[in-house]
Symmetry: C2
DNA sequence: TTGAAAGCGCTACCAA
DNA sequence: TTGGTAGCGCTTTCAA
């Protein structure tokens, strides 16, 4: 049916080896032969079978990506950045969504590895590194994005401690006095953003009572509801907060919607800052101040790292790479309380 | 390095064939042998090499997906629905974004086909079927989603004529008198939504002057800017419209933002309805009325279609399948002019 | 500069 | 119920 290398070879009266070398730009093929091969390839509409190539070279030109929620703009951007940069080298991205379910994530990792990827990128929702210790990655390089597990594999993400600090400082700068945090999962991002936030509060002599730190049970798939629930709880306190740092923008969006329902004015009664900088943050009911995590760049940097990894010699000494991007503060209406300063 | 089937076989003192059959649940393997094999597989941490399997079976367990913009929630949802349903059969989705560039799309299709996918799903940004006639798909089934090319391949999408009609009827029902349309590309979706809209206007005796139909040059990647530009143009007309049907929600979002800038009140001065029902439509500055295109379902229905296609015999008579979902009207604040009725 | 042969890991056919 | 053998389509020595 489909035309294969053999067909090109016999049509040209040369061997398969010659065709193969010509196609792979091997130096020891004459220009003339190469041209003849290329012409025939076009004529017959030949397309190399990457599966076969993959089997013999051990390279698949495929990179896996597993994220908690494929519909979350933050992870979409990572996927897009990754795919865009990788495409230049004819790589494709195989995706899967773990739905924030650690078990499902583990299972998907196991399944996707069977495809002999050249690298696997995971924004993990595991709370411990256990799952990764049990999994056999073979020689597939693993790259964590966004969420880190120290020392286990490569990492590309943003400085979460700095993000927490930045958000905290910003809320203080707009004169918030009672500052709460809707925190994320017990993983690197959740813990570091919390720590950056808390340390900054302490440093500035601002007390954060324990009831001001609310744990969200889901931050992506069910993030909006969780944000709304957290706000209800915070506003029912004797002394409700006047500023909230949300672990991510999905939660923050839920908070904003719920605030409107309860008649809590943003930013007058309550300043809100999130984390992520999703592509619709600027158009929501109250444009959301946030800490930009540079998601697109996480994707492209990861892609570059992968290209480096596959380019270096198989047996070259491998050390774990760690790429940490600095977050950026993006101020919008949800914390714009400049009127109070006056 | 990695353990392969041969290792299992020799460890057990049986042949590779036996192991292979046991793993694939072949009927002619004794229960006992199967159990022994499974135990050894677990013990050694064996994982079948799908590349090798793919080469010998001709099946890759991979489905390709090419969309105009991976960061657009509409296409994300399709990807998610597709991936979620396919995963149950251990299929994975390979993605690529064409960036609304027909040339790039054609090139990506060509590249991705080299991976011998079991099916290729495309939300095409081509304006003609030319590109598809030139491409050799081999025996890879092609499924168009969202945008159709009649008779060329399978299709899963929504009834765009009905969508246009629905939007038009809704704008009429909220007493709009001067109704404009920011139209999309010259493809099936753009043309049918326009036609559904126009026919409905005509049927209701409402004239739509040609300057009320504005063509957006980009609807996804640069959709928001295009929406804003279109609004500027429409509002500068002698007789600006009091209702706009936007080809999609990205454009509509741009319109809403621009309206705010220009002091045009929505929905009081101008009612806006979009198309798509993106997951953040309900939280934007003015919650957006829209025609739900059931994107997630497009994904899952496509997945089911693919599973059917791969299940049916290779040489079975193949007829082109066409799955058309009915859109649904979702009313939100951007067209809520009920106050005028009173 | 070109090519013959071996092999990548697995499945399928047919025989035992 | 089990296994030998021959591929799947390509790349990679090594020899010519």
């Amino acid at each position: 049916m489909t035309v294969k290398m053999k067909d090109i070879a016999s049509a040209l009266g040369v061997s398969m080896v010659t065709v193969s070398k010509a196609l792979n730009n091997h130096p020891d093929i004459s220009k003339k032969t190469r041209e003849r091969v290329n012409a025939k390839v076009k004529e017959l509409g030949y397309r190399p079978n990457l599966t076969a190539r993959s089997l013999s070279t051990g390279r698949s030109s495929l990179v896996g990506l597993i994220v908690p929620d494929l519909a979350n703009p933050f992870f979409c951007e990572i996927a897009k950045g990754l795919s865009k940069t990788l495409r230049e080298q004819s790589y494709f991205v195989v995706v899967s969504s773990s739905e924030e379910d650690p078990m499902l994530e583990e299972q998907e990792i196991d399944n996707i590895l069977a495809h002999r990827l050249d690298a696997l990128v995971v924004a993990s929702c595991q709370l411990s590194a256990e799952a990764f210790r049990n999994t056999r990655f073979g020689d597939t390089p693993l790259i964590f994005v966004d969420r880190a597990f120290e020392g286990l594999a490569h990492f590309v993400g943003c400085d979460d401690y700095a993000a927490g600090k930045m958000a905290a400082e910003h809320l203080l700068s707009v004169r918030c006095k009672r500052i709460a945090h809707i925190r994320g999962p017990q993983n690197s991002t959740g813990i570091r953003r919390l720590k950056g936030f808390m340390d900054t509060m302490t440093k500035n002599g601002v007390d954060v009572p324990s009831e001001y730190v609310v744990q969200a049970l889901s931050v992506d798939v069910d993030g909006r509801n969780q944000g709304a629930e957290a706000l209800k709880r915070l506003m029912s306190l004797q002394r409700p907060p006047d500023g909230i740092f949300c672990y991510n923008d999905i939660l923050a969006t839920g908070v904003i919607v719920q605030a409107d329902k309860q008649g809590v004015r943003i930013p007058e009664d309550l300043a809100i800052i999130g984390c992520g900088n999703l592509h619709f943050d600027d158009v929501i009911q109250v444009p959301l101040s946030t800490v930009d995590q540079r998601s697109r760049e996480i994707g492209s940097r990861t892609a570059k790292l992968i290209l480096e990894l596959v380019a270096t010699d198989e047996d070259a000494p491998k050390k774990i790479r760690k790429i940490v991007l600095q977050p950026r503060l993006v101020i919008r209406a949800s914390t714009d309380r400049s009127f109070r300063k006056r």
